[in-house]
């Protein structure tokens, strides 16, 4: 089980549920972004660069930098800081450019 770094005192949270990160369960609360849930669980690497396989993670937190992207429910380059966690969501650490269906 992953850790929980959330502030405990004086915070009202919504319903707790699980999301799946690289096959492992992570707890998220209603209203949290995926990035918030990941940070609370101590997961800092969301993707690896296409050139050099370097780890990347949340940087700006406001949707600008594209540092925190993951494959969410099969869609690569999804910004975790702009995506609300949903029960049953499946996340994968993005490795490089990943697979896209561009040629129909």
């Amino acid at each position: 089980m992953t850790q929980d770094l959330r502030i405990r005192k004086d915070v009202q949270r919504g319903q707790a549920f699980e999301i799946e990160v690289d096959g492992l369960p992570v707890v998220a609360y209603e209203g949290e972004t995926v990035a918030a849930a990941l940070m609370a669980a101590g997961i800092r690497t969301t993707n690896q660069t296409a050139r050099g396989d370097e780890p990347r993670g949340v940087c700006c937190g406001i949707g600008l930098c594209y540092g925190c992207t993951m494959v969410i429910d099969g869609v690569p380059n999804t910004r975790t800081c702009q995506t609300l966690a949903q029960p049953g969501m499946r996340l994968e650490t993005q490795k490089g450019l990943q697979r896209w269906k561009v040629a129909e």
């Binding site: 296409a50 594209y66 450019l97 990943q98 896209w100 561009v102």
Partner: protein, 374 residues
Amino acid sequence: MVNVREAAVVVVGGGIMGCSTAYELAKKGQSVILLEKGFVGAEASGRNGGGVRQQKRDPAELPLAMESVKIWQGLQEELEWELEYHQGGNLHILGNPDRYDFFVEQLRYSQEAGLDVRLLSPEETRRLLPTLRKDLDLLGSTFCPSDGNANPLFVCTAYAKAAQQLGAEIREHEPLERLTVKSGRVIAALTAQAEYRASDFVIAAGAWSRPICHQIGLDFPVAVKRSQLMVTEPLPPVFTEFISADQCSCYFRQALSGGIHIGIPSAPIEDHNKTTSYDAFKIAGQSCLTLFPFLEKVSIVHSWAGLTNWTPDAVCIIDKAPHVEGFYLTAGHSGHGFCLGPITGRLLAEWIVDGTPSMDLSAVRWTRFNGIDL
């Protein structure tokens, strides 16, 4: 007390033209000072679509583009810098029957000049670009395999660094204030920091060139236009070609990092306004989908604009001033100067040092605009 500096040549403008000129001059052992109002590659040279293209050139520019590509091919090794240059080809999709003959004629004279450029059938075009919209009406395409693209962000810096290593002085954040003319000859360039004296001056200031020429009583007709670019999120390799089309106002190139750079056509602008316009992006986005439906689900992550300067015939100027000695100008690249940067610098250096350039520049002369108003 004015700080006076001396060099053989002063170059004004730190874009690809100015930086390649400074480099080629330094390579020929000349002392060079380059003045740049901002930083190297800050304007159009660092903001363009990155196309290095020979096809669809005016006959006046075609030989220059072909010679320039020869330099591009060895440029990464020469400058010791990864420029992301690759010859992935340039593809123009034909879809307008009224313009078909025009492109076929361009193809004819380009082939005659020795360029490998082909007319592809609709089927051949689709085979090359499987992502093209299935029901797109197309007449075929023109394809030049030796065309390519490079990363504009690196090229000026690479030239400037190489020039510096050969002893050139690159002075950034030092805008030209005025030129001093004495007895029909430019003798000095003045900035807030110093007076730079030289025997020759090269003006390569892009959209800012015309006001500089006005200072010495010369003019050439150029209009400043704003070009905009948007970049998608990184995708796996989709195409290697630089793509344009009759059916779509935008052009496309996929950078090595995966983002597709989508160029939006230039529009005239009164001031030097480099802000981007969301309305233009909305229209361009729609237009892109006529070619590539997959883009509908792809995010735009970045955008910028740059200023280009356009001559009435959309052909550049590489020339000496008609009435003033020691004054060279290269400008008016009309949105397609990036490819010509390497050859322009080399020819100007030859002209200044050896007295004559190794290629015929009569088709890109300044005086062809005599009597033309813009």
